[in-house]
């Protein structure tokens, strides 16, 4: 492989966000006709590096070369013109425009004649591109807002392909895609390689990286660690390079007994709401009930209905005594706590001190004759921060300055302090490093032993399988399968129920 010429090179890249140094002297070398994997834990700087290459951010210092020429994009449009295009994890299409408009956004000039946009020709071209990538089920005139998340991603892919990039950057896109969507993406990556172009591929899934990449560049805490050739790939080595120390393979529960307690603490009956279509299940005391499925299957709405955030069209959510739950404050009076998937927007006030974030659910408990004394708050927070080992300067520090894992600990401290008997955790380990992840799993096991019940909603199947007493798989808003822990469901078995 040594004779391949270098297509792109980045040297001595530095980038800071405020006081956080995201990149420290990072380098990257991309050869032509290869898929280069960029791997590292959250906060390792891989997305930052990719975004700088794609012109979304500018580096503080460092130099980049595209085909030997100095490359210095001012914005993502300029990067596009140079032949570099990036697909993001988040949705980056325009809801109120058609698929065709989205595909050719910024390139409308091609279809303009005498100042008038030839919409029909644009649609024809769009259909051709969609056909080419194997997504002909999407019509060019479909509004993006009416498409599923996955189809929206495919439109983004079509847009990228239509630019005919020399370098395609794929950032954590596969987690949002079903198997069909992934196959389309893999096919595009293959085609890029065959055409002498290259792909920078970012994914959390180590197995996927090992399978799809020709070389892997590992980053850790904003530092360049190493680049591995395909022949040197091994999961164990990659993981060690990512974390910087040996990580045991198993940090999930070790027992294989499911919870046998018959006492029901929460019951959901015949619920139709949001994406959910006729869902019934019950949660038992001391049980970890896992929900899995594709991103679009409606599992996130499970948490929202159980906490009374999303009102049901039909059916009901009841507590142990059969009383209905219809609002968050009501759910809390039954000792239910909820941490949303969008932690920073919904579960935490990132613009407030840690103290306020932890105390907010417990003001009734903390006040004496209507007065909340600072001393009581401080004691309350210090105890919880100590228990959960939250890394902070002091409790007056703003939450936005914390790392993802510590933010999640703050959210958990809020509910532990509140004294929740039922915890609903939606993607609790999303964006969290392996170290803190295992902390969280241990905490869940401890809570389970104390007789608390947990609803665990997660997009990561190994986590759902590894932690739950019972796993419920959703597909298109319906329950498609239910497995007890003793049955040892495997990932591939569950995927069959998901798609």
């Amino acid at each position: 492989m040594g004779q391949q010429k270098v297509l792109f090179e980045a040297k001595d890249m530095f980038k800071s966000f405020g006081v956080t140094k995201a990149l420290k002297e990072v380098k990257l070398e991309l050869k032509s006709s290869e898929v280069l994997g960029l791997i590292g834990e959250n906060g390792s700087g891989k997305s930052t590096l990719a975004s700088i290459i794609a012109g979304i951010w500018a580096a503080d210092s460092g130099s980049m070369f595209l085909e030997g020429q100095q490359y210095f994009p001012k914005n993502s449009m300029e990067a596009n013109y140079s032949g570099i295009c990036m697909i993001l994890q988040e949705k980056s299409t325009f809801d109120h425009l058609s698929a065709a408009n989205n595909i050719f956004i910024g390139a409308e000039k091609r279809f303009v004649k005498a100042g008038i946009l030839d919409g029909r020709r644009m649609k024809r071209e769009a259909a051709k591109v969609l056909q080419e990538i194997g997504a002909s089920h999407i019509s060019p005139s479909d509004m993006i807002g009416n498409l599923s998340f996955e189809d929206g991603k495919l439109v983004e892919l079509a847009r990228a392909v239509s630019i005919k990039p020399k370098i395609l950057i794929v950032d954590e896109t596969t987690t949002a895609l079903s198997r069909t969507g992934r196959d389309i993406l893999y096919l595009i990556m293959e085609k890029m390689k065959k055409g002498g172009n290259s792909v920078i591929f970012i994914s959390h899934d180590i197995d996927e990286m090992v399978d799809k990449c020709d070389r892997l560049t590992v980053l850790r805490d904003g530092n360049y660690v190493d680049t591995l050739e395909k022949k040197d790939f091994s999961t164990q080595v990659i993981r060690r390079l990512m974390v910087g120390r040996e990580i045991s393979d198993n940090y999930y529960r070790t027992d294989s007994e499911s919870c046998k307690n018959e006492e029901i603490v929460l019951q959901v009956k015949d619920v139709i709401a949001g994406k959910l279509d006729n869902i019934s299940f019950s949660l038992h005391k001391g049980e970890i009930l896992g929900f899995g499925g594709l991103a679009d299957c409606g599992m996130h709405d499970i948490g929202r209905i159980a906490f009374g955030l999303l009102s049901t069209d039909t059916g009901e959510v009841k507590d142990a005594k059969g009383k209905k739950i219809e609002a968050p404050a009501q759910a809390m009076s039954r000792k239910i706590g909820y941490i949303a998937k969008n932690r920073d927007q919904e579960a935490l006030m990132t613009n407030s001190p840690i103290l306020d974030n932890i105390c907010i659910a417990s003001y009734d408990k903390l006040s004496k004759n209507g007065c909340i004394l600072p001393g009581r708050e401080n004691k309350f927070v210090d105890y919880l921060a100590d228990q959960l080992e939250i890394k902070m300067q002091d409790s007056k520090q703003y939450v936005m300055e914390l790392s993802g894992g510590n933010k999640q600990k703050v959210a958990l401290a809020k509910w532990l302090g509140f004294g929740a008997d039922i915890l609903i955790l939606d993607c609790p380990t999303r964006g969290i490093d392996i170290g803190i992840k295992s902390n969280l799993y241990n905490l869940m096991i401890k809570l389970k032993k104390e007789g608390k019940s947990i609803i665990l909603i997660s997009e990561e199947l190994p986590e759902v399988i590894g932690m739950s007493d019972r796993v419920i798989i959703l597909k298109n808003g319906r329950i498609s399968g239910e497995f007890r822990r003793e049955a040892h469901p495997t990932e591939s078995l569950l995927i069959d129920y998901m798609v």
């Binding site: 404050a329 407030s352 105390c359 659910a361 007065c371 809020k414």
Partner: protein, 315 residues
């Protein structure tokens, strides 16, 4: 490395917190020099208290609305209307003037809250509409004339009364804002309404409560306006909104609300505003000159203190 990090954080906080104090000192020093030492004199003390009175009480109520990230445009017109109803009440019995002022204020506050929460109209547009409606009612009710209070009531307008009222309102406001669940939840709403909701805060109720608090305060100010001037006219309260908002911003209360809203800002801002107005009076500026200068100060304050990074449009 750690020290450096702390330094950067400290620097950021310092300027933000110091700015309002610098403003206050700057205003005092400026006018002290240009008025030939008259600003800080015992004779002027009474004038400062009088000037400060309406603003400081107004801001004390207003901070709850601002903490939530909302605004209320209608406080001036509500004060005007409450001054008129207070005059009507005073006609029956002087003591009735107080409930006759405060109750309509609370009702107006409830209407503001209802429009914002139940009809889901942004507080900017909602309270602006209410402002015009209330003003319209006042103009119709006064029918081009004015209402007067019994002369005996003017004797309540003493420095001692004002001083005591300021102390009571300030301590009550400080206590509620800092040490009760209500005050803390108001700030939580401004910080992140969704997170507050998902932590059990009843947002709608608290928003209405804050509008009613401000309404009650506006009503109280209507009463004090009556005993100060003895009359209720269509112009009563017309300067209140601008003065209160200006004072709040000068004191450093962020428009976006949240944890950055500090009670001390209410006091500092009100004093700055009072010294500013008073100083301009001492310099013999006309009403229009004063408005011109206030407008410029307002703009400079916002330009310096506004958080452009997390720019939040007032809802």
């Amino acid at each position: 490395m750690k020290n450096q990090k702390e330094n950067i954080v400290l620097k950021k906080i310092n300027f933000k917190t110091i700015f309002p104090y610098l403003g206050l000192v700057g205003v005092i020093v400026f006018f002290q020099i240009y008025s030939g030492g008259r600003v800080l004199s015992t004779a002027n003390f009474k004038a400062i208290i009088s000037e400060c009175f309406f603003i400081i009480i107004g801001v004390t109520g207003y901070i709850f609305i601002m903490a939530q990230g909302n605004l209320d445009f209608s406080i001036g017109s509500v004060m005007g209307l409450c001054c008129a109803t207070a005059a009507v009440g005073a006609g029956i019995h002087p003591l009735l003037a107080i409930p006759f002022a405060v109750v309509p204020g609370i009702i107006a506050g409830y209407i503001n809250g209802f429009v914002h929460v139940k009809l889901k109209i942004g507080s900017l547009i909602g309270t602006m509409s209410v402002q015009y409606i209330v003003n319209g009612i006042l103009v119709l009710a006064l029918a081009g004339g004015s209402l007067t209070a019994p002369i005996s009531m003017l004797q309540w307008n003493t420095l001692t009364v004002k001083f005591i009222v300021i102390i009571i309102v300030l301590s009550a406001g400080f206590y509620v804002f800092r040490f009760t669940a209500y005050g803390k939840r108001c700030r939580a709403i401004g910080s992140c309404a969704e997170a507050a909701k998902q932590s059990g805060v009843k947002i709608g109720k608290l928003k209405i409560a804050a509008f009613m608090t401000v309404g009650a305060i506006s009503g109280l100010l209507g009463f004090f306006s009556l005993i100060r001037t003895g009359t209720s006219t269509v112009l009563t309260g017309s300067e209140l909104f601008m003065n209160v908002l200006c004072a709040a911003l000068l004191g450093g209360i962020p428009l976006s609300g949240g944890a950055g809203a500090k009670f001390s800002s209410a006091v500092i801002g009100s004093l700055t505003m009072a010294f500013l107005t008073n100083g301009m009076v001492l310099m013999g500026l006309s009403t229009y000159d004063k408005q011109l200068i206030k407008g410029i100060v307002f703009l400079i304050t916002i330009a310096i203190s506004f958080e452009r990074k997390n720019l939040v449009v007032i809802k």
